[in-house]
Amino acid sequence: MNRFFTTQTRRRGDTRKIVITSVAVVVLASTFAASQAKPAQRVNANAAISAEFSKRVTDYMKLRQSAQSGLTTPKNTQSPTQLNQYQHQLAEHIRSARPQAQQGDIFAPEIAVLFRHLVAQSINGPQGAQIRKSYERAEPIRGVHLAVNQAYPDGMPLQSMPPSLLLNLPKLPKELEYRFVDHELILRDVAANLVVDFIPDLTTPTTK
């Protein structure tokens, strides 16, 4: 009896152990699966947002191409007047083609969130210290706010982009570039010298 009881108890104990172990395995497995799924989902979400950003950039490039038609790029000109005229004309054509353009047209809210994440990831990553130094040593622009469709101010230096940070951002066609201006990341049309869009209140790589 005792023996039976003991055996039964042992069996019951074994069963309990098996159940507990199984539950633990299931819980651990699902936790692991969930933890694995989250980054994958995030990657997918980020990929979708990046694709949306690329699409908006492509749309801008189409608009730009049509704005540029009729203008001749002054390749290898001796005349700075020609350079100035071309820049102003191109900017004017682009402005006319998107008169209602406003902040967020390209950097839509979810895209801005991704960029904030990518910038923060770089600044707080292993290259963070050198990115901050590189940023500070390139004469950061402070106390300036720019608007969409505004010309980048003549005479104001362009903040150099720390390479490690730049390499972490989505690629752009050569006609466009990212630049920091104070706490904003602007998308600049290079030849037109025009602010295409910007992300406000960004954490920039200033030295901690």
Binding site: T81, Y86, K133, L158, Q159, L167
Partner: protein, 312 residues
């Protein structure tokens, strides 16, 4: 490993013996100044036949008197050295980029040189506008980064303001394909600098140095810090900083640096370079005509990767 040992030996010879040894032609040379009077030039270059000769300026485009003074010295030396071209380390035009700025900050000060056919090859600094790439006298052909060859020397002008993946791929490919004896890279932001205002750009250095070392870049020249500095070779590469051909940050060099070979931060300068065979001769001249640094450097051996002939 072998390359490192050879380089170490060369560096010892180059920096210890050659770098500060004045070249034989150190006797004063008389020239006629634009005003008609005679002036003495303290020439340190050997002026060998068929050598590649050029001048280096950086952070020059202020449009102010010191830039004009440096330009006058450059003109005086051109009469003797007959250098063919000038490479510019960026900040070619400070401030506004109206036509009058191009005139006052570039065309007028260097008119005598431009008139004699001296070419200028620019790279972009943080004060430059991208439209400078289209300005013919800067010879950039609409490109932010480009390359050109003079004799045995190939130059690689980079845009250090915006070192994106396209540019990194480009420089890697260009260097890999280059069979030039001398490879000289120039761009605005210095990988090494003892300037207290800016200093070394370590983030940029981490991107570029592995490429430069792998593909055997011999010399790197930059600006940005408004001083003159020559460095002890780093990674087997000779580094120069010429950022005071218009601007100047007086007494800005960090004292007691262990990377500095020579420095000058009390006036503006420009640099003269002559490359003949395996030797690079240099002479750095101040706004007042004083030679503040000179010497000769031995060409480094090519890195092993370059020496290996690919098998089909």
């Amino acid at each position: 490993m072998i390359r490192k040992l050879v380089l170490a030996a060369l560096i010892t010879v180059g920096a210890g013996t050659l770098a500060f040894r004045l070249t034989p032609a150190s006797t004063p040379t008389l020239i006629k100044t634009p005003a008609g009077s005679q002036a003495q030039l303290d020439l340190k270059l050997p002026l060998e036949q068929k050598s590649v000769r050029f001048a280096v300026i950086g952070d020059n485009g202020t449009g102010e008197q010191p830039q004009y003074d440096v330009a006058a010295e450059m003109e005086a030396y051109e009469q003797v050295v007959h250098y063919d071209f000038v490479i510019m380390m960026g900040d070619n035009i400070y401030g506004g980029h109206k036509p009058k700025d191009f005139e006052r900050k570039f065309e007028t000060p260097y008119k005598p040189l431009l008139d004699t056919g001296v070419k200028f090859y620019a790279c972009l600094g943080n004060h430059d506008n991208s439209d400078e790439t289209l300005f013919k006298p800067f010879n950039m052909n609409g490109q932010r980064y480009y390359t050109f060859k003079k004799g045995d020397v190939q130059f690689f002008a980079l845009d250090s303001n915006y070192m994106d993946s396209a540019q990194l791929d480009w420089i890697q490919q260009q260097l890999r394909e280059s069979n030039a004896k001398w490879k000289i890279a120039f761009f605005h932001h210095p990988l090494y600098s003892d300037g207290r205002f800016h200093g070394s750009d370590v983030d940029l250095r981490n991107q570029l140095m592995p490429i430069f070392e792998k593909y055997g870049v011999n010399v790197v020249m930059s600006g940005h810090d408004h001083v003159y500095e020559r460095f002890k070779p780093e990674g087997g590469i000779y580094f120069f900083l010429v950022g005071n051909s218009g601007e100047l940050r007086y007494h800005n060099l960090r004292q007691g640096s262990d990377i500095m070979a020579a420095g000058f931060d009390t006036d503006r300068t420009f640099m003269l370079v002559e490359i003949a065979g395996d030797k690079l001769y240099f002479q750095t001249v101040s706004r007042t005509g004083q030679t503040v640094d000179s010497g000769a450097l031995q060409r480094q051996p090519k890195p092993p990767a370059e020496n290996t002939t690919p098998t089909q």
